[in-house]
Amino acid sequence: MSLWRDIKGTLQPFWVTLCNMMRRPVTVQYPEQKQQMAQRYRGRLMLTRDPEGHERCVACHLCSAACPVDCISMQAAEGDDGRRHAAWFRINFTRCIFCGLCTEACPTLAIQVTGEFELAGRDPLKLVWEKDDLLVDHGGHTPDYNFYRQSGVGVAAPRGGLPTETAPVDPKDLMP
């Protein structure tokens, strides 16, 4: 029994090699040849925009709290229209381990992974990306989601103006 297994074990690898010798090679001649990464590949991060073109990120600090290596920092600020946004937002890609935990934490789907992985360089400072570097002009993997159309604080729609809301009450009304 075990002899048969040994013979099989010796020949099978040769067979596998032989088969693959006949196939078209799968090796990509990187860097001459570029590879399209899988959809869920976790590469460099980006900050996306909502369908109305506004910055999605509300600087809630959840990504920076989730990040195991503490490479995200930011400061929130309030816009004239009551929109909370990042006054500045920085990711230090020299530290990032591309775990994607930040994207899982993000409640507005602002921070998302891209397929980009070519981040090597000689100057570490070039790997410290600021908000302008991170911000893209599309919605990434989730083009339709708009946080301010889900949560009722009267930014995208007037107060009480979302489909899931009733118009603001009049607290001085005494009708039963």
């Binding site: 006054a87 409640p107 009722g152 604080v153 809301e165 001085k172």
Partner: protein, 787 residues
């Protein structure tokens, strides 16, 4: 003391406690919203359901409303209780806007915590959400009513605990709203507390809006530096900027709340003009070099003119450690001991509080529990706001408050006010004037069970406090002391007084007659603290050498020949002793440095590394003084050495920041200087009383930009009778004539104040800064029209 079983653990608790409190003692937190330690239970939210398995009334019960009974068996995690709590969590969330990412409560939200602990996760309700319009509640509080769960904590805090009248619940059924009748700044001086108690993000700190999440905040237990009560606070900041202060918990002093001056008046730490560089003769140098220079310079002056030519000034702003080391330094040089209070009359008052009164000092807790409080010569809301809140609690428990003060005193409670002038009060205490009122009060004090006398040191001075001391002693009986709660000028005035050996000659005279060649000021500013501020500034400008340790920009730091930047309360460790002799430790929440936001104008922080943090030179004063003395002890070792040299500080080395603090030992009774009653000449019929105002009178809040909306404008206040006699109208601009000069001020009338008195607030940074509180009233006159 019933013993009961909760979740198979047995616990014994005081009579009258509830199941909720018993569980809390075991470390079991039953989910809750409307219960708050300081406010008690109202049973409004139904979140705290537990199952009573054995007891008089078994079944599902609200733990915060059900008294604990002997032999009861309670389970918090029965299927019945958990299902009930999950439903309650779900109902409370039906209207919630789900906007946590943009909510400032995120990170410290009780609604998040309790909803998760209730087990509710998926929303089943398909109806629409109720919404509200928000109100503008002023510069301190932001409101987002859509997040409200109607727990009534804010209303209970604002109206019941703090006595505010302009905020509360309105409306009926689904429309219940918490706010003001119309938009506008909240009137109460304790408005910030509704931020701390609101379990959701409805009420948040507007000055802290969108700044930092709790998990990024650098915090440490600290002591409020704004007045002598020494309330427990927790300042927090990030990126080298102080961003907010919340109340700490100390049941002996402030309890769970603080006043708005303590909460919103801390931005002086970020002040752009703060001294941040050691400076010698106009040139910036490293701290070590400045210290060497100071040592050499003082040695030089002593060699030339003798040790009497160097004077040291400590202060009620500096920590006990720094003041003590200053004293050691003076002693090692054989120079006269430091002065710890530049205002001689205030100094005498502090000496009374530290010495003869020390066996009768009442804590704020005792004020809250008192049944009769006599407030003499004090205006709590302006001098020590949390005292006003303590007085309100006394009234809520059935106590009575009687106030003798010339000012139009306002308190958030019912009280009896006798608008007597300063000298009338002193005469009354000395038994020299019409004594009918005093006799009535005395007989009430004799029969009261927990009487407390509050004495304002600014109005009463040393003599007044001494007389108050005699009064308390005469009202003592076998069962209890009649206690006294003196208000002192500054947060560590008591500490300075305790280190003082013997009263000293007034510094101004020593400066003016040229005996002093070099002056060392530790976090004190003679030019604004001495009653003769103008003369003092002149004397300082003629002084040979002025060395200043300070964290705030003052007259002294501008004039200094040698400047050493010190750390503020939130940037260093130390101990303050409050007005009732309680030593309390504070610790550093931040490292000193220019806030990143100020360095980069709100943009991205710099991308390049710098070898040194900008503006990080300031150090706690005690560290620099140790360097001067050639020592480097840890703060604990230093405190141990202090205990040994000052037996009254026993226990100091055991202090932990955030604890209740330890009272200093009372002074052994010893004969004290007998002083005569201050009766001063009464020429002219109108006299001027410069007083403290809540915001802007003490230097830290005057430099805090956040409280600007609450500052009073320079003004003159008189009784309507005085205005009428002079044919003046309220609201017109009048000229105040005093020995310090002429002032154009707007006239205000208040019929609650004493007649024949004019009142001005002391406001550093305005023309009125020449007036310093704590003195006797001054002759003055008022004229209408253009001067």
């Amino acid at each position: 003391m019933p013993t009961l079983t909760i979740d198979n653990l047995s616990v014994t608790i005081p009579d009258g406690s509830t199941i909720f409190e018993a569980a809390a003692q075991l470390g079991i937190v039953v989910p809750h919203f409307c219960y708050h330690h300081a406010l008690g239970a109202v049973g409004a939210c139904r979140m705290c359901a537990v199952t009573v398995v054995e007891g008089k009334m078994p079944g599902l019960k609200m733990s915060c409303m059900t008294p604990a009974e002997e032999g009861m068996v309670v389970e918090t995690d029965t299927a019945q209780a958990m299902e009930f709590r999950e439903h309650v969590g779900e109902w409370l969330m039906t209207n919630h806007p789900h906007d946590c990412p943009v909510c400032d409560e995120g990170g410290e939200c009780q609604l998040q915590e309790m909803t998760i602990s209730s087990g509710h996760g998926v929303r089943n309700y398909r109806g629409n959400k109720r919404t509200y319009q928000n109100q503008d509640l002023g510069p301190f509080i932001a409101q987002e009513m859509n997040r409200c769960i109607q727990c009534y904590r804010c209303a209970r805090t604002y109206q019941d605990y703090c006595g505010g009248r302009d905020f509360g619940p309105m409306g009926s059924r689904q429309r219940v709203f918490f706010g003001r009748f119309t938009d506008g700044m909240l009137e109460s001086d304790f408005s910030g507390n509704i931020v701390d108690v609101c379990p959701t993000g409805v009420l948040t700190d507007k000055t802290f809006r969108f700044k930092t999440r709790l998990w990024d905040l650098q915090q440490a237990p600290s002591i409020c530096p704004h007045c002598s009560l020494g309330c427990a606070t927790v300042p927090g900041g990030r990126y080298r900027e102080i961003q907010r202060v919340v109340s700490g918990v100390n049941v002996q002093t402030n309890g769970h709340f603080i006043c708005d001056r303590g909460r919103f008046g801390s931005s002086y730490v970020n002040h752009p003009k703060r001294p941040r560089q050691a400076r010698v003769d106009g040139t910036n140098v490293p701290v070590a070099q400045a210290l060497n220079r100071l040592r050499d310079k003082i040695a030089g002056v002593i060699a030339e003119h003798g040790p009497g030519a160097v004077a040291f000034v400590g202060s009620g702003r500096a920590s006990l450690e720094a003041n003590w080391l200053l004293k050691q330094w003076a002693r090692s040089l054989k120079c006269p001991a430091p002065v710890f209070e530049l205002h001689p009359r205030r100094g005498r008052a502090i000496r009374q509080a530290v010495g003869p009164l020390s066996s009768h000092l009442a804590s704020l807790r005792q004020v809250r529990k008192s049944d009769l409080v006599l407030v003499i010569g004090a205006d709590p809301l302006n001098e020590a706001p949390m005292l006003a809140l303590a007085l309100r609690q006394a009234v809520r428990e059935g106590g009575r408050i009687v106030v003798l003060d010339p000012r139009p005193v306002d308190l958030p409670c019912v009280f009896e006010h006798h608008p007597l002038t300063q000298e009338q009060i002193l005469c009354l205490l000395a038994g020299r004037c019409e004594t009918g009122l005093l006799n009535n009060l005395l007989s009430e004090l004799m029969t009261a069970r927990r009487p407390v006398l509050v004495g304002g040191s600014d109005l009463l001075g040393g003599v007044g406090l001494q007389l108050l001391g005699h009064l308390t002693e005469s009202c003592d009986n076998d069962d209890r002391y009649c206690l006294i709660h003196p208000l002192l000028p500054r947060v560590n005035s008591f500490g300075g007084g305790l280190l003082e050996d013997a009263p000293q000659e007034d510094l101004l005279e020593r400066l003016e007659n040229g005996r002093i060649k070099a002056l060392v000021c530790l976090e004190s500013d003679p030019g604004s603290e001495h009653p003769e501020a103008g003369r003092m500034q002149l004397a300082l400008s003629r002084l040979d050498y002025l060395a200043v340790f300070d964290c705030l920009p003052t007259h002294a730091t501008r004039r200094a020949d040698l400047l050493l930047p010190t750390a503020t309360t939130v940037e260093g460790d130390g101990v303050y002793i409050n007005n009732e002799g309680r030593m309390q430790a504070f610790s550093a929440a931040l490292q000193p440095g220019i806030p990143i936001a100020a360095v980069t104008a709100g943009q991205h922080p710099p991308r390049e590394f710098m070898p040194e943090t900008p503006g990080s030179q300031p150090q706690p004063a005690w560290q620099m003084l140790q360097d001067l003395l050639g020592e480097r002890h840890s703060v604990t070792a230093l405190r141990r050495a202090m205990e040994q040299s000052e037996p009254r500080l026993e226990g100091m080395s055991r202090l932990q920041p955030g604890d209740e603090g330890i009272k200093v030992a009372p002074q052994d009774p010893e004969p004290v200087e007998e002083s005569t009653v201050e009766i001063w000449s009464q020429d002219g019929d109108l006299r001027l009383l410069p007083v403290q105002s809540c915001y802007g009178s003490e230097v830290a809040s005057s430099l805090s930009q956040t409280v600007t909306p609450r500052l009073v404008t320079p003004r003159l206040m008189v009784h309507p009778q005085e205005a009428q006699q002079r044919h003046l109208q309220e609201g017109e601009d009048v000229t105040l004539k005093t020995a310090h000069g002429l002032f154009r001020l707007r006239l205000f009338c208040d019929e609650r104040m004493a007649t024949r008195r004019a009142i001005v607030p002391c406001l550093p940074g305005t023309p009125l800064e020449i007036f310093v509180p704590g003195g006797l009233s001054l002759p003055c006159d008022i004229e209408g029209g253009a001067s």
